[in-house]
Symmetry: C2
Subunit: 124 residues, 2 copies
Amino acid sequence: MKYQSPSVGQEISCVMKLVSSKFLLEPRALKKILKQKLSEENFGILKITSHTFEPHGFTLFFLLSESHLAIHTYPEYNSIYFNFYSCRGPADAEPTFKFIKEKLKPKEILFLRKDKVPLINPQP
Amino acid sequence: MKYQSPSVGQEISCVMKLVSSKFLLEPRALKKILKQKLSEENFGILKITSHTFEPHGFTLFFLLSESHLAIHTYPEYNSIYFNFYSCRGPADAEPTFKFIKEKLKPKEILFLRKDKVPLINPQP
């Protein structure tokens, strides 16, 4: 049977604050553990793109068969932005989110509330 | 003066439904107009990654100095997922969002509500 995505996937998007700083400066360590975790969760990793910024911080992007995982780190705040969109099934992004939360140990997580940005929403 | 990102950027993340289908099948046209628009808005485009899926649909990712723009298209639903995160300033992602909305002419936009996914939020 051919797989068909649902029309809307699951997204988890947040800023994790006051995280363990050892993962924030360069992408290698985080890339390694996320690659393992995504494979364990049977996501198809098609491409990995990263960029390290001056003076610090990086972006890490996993292009998946099932959508994507994007990370930005902000060492100046000891924080990371985590954005996972998956169109494979419900609750699909949660094990990876939980995994990274356990590794990074944020003291606070701010979920980005989309209902606060409806200003150009064409629906009344 | 050295630029410093705010601790939390602006994110616009949504599914645009029933869009103009000419942009959905392959990334070239959308990549071209988005590249122009992002440059016009003075975003620094560091890398562009894309992947075209079988039997159709694609992912397009712009890695920016100011964070990222990710697009996934679902021709089977005539829809796209749009996710822009920018840590340059308030309302920073809006002109690009508005631009793509005008180009794709969605009949409906579903903003992904993050407050519906707090199940693993460590905050009470």
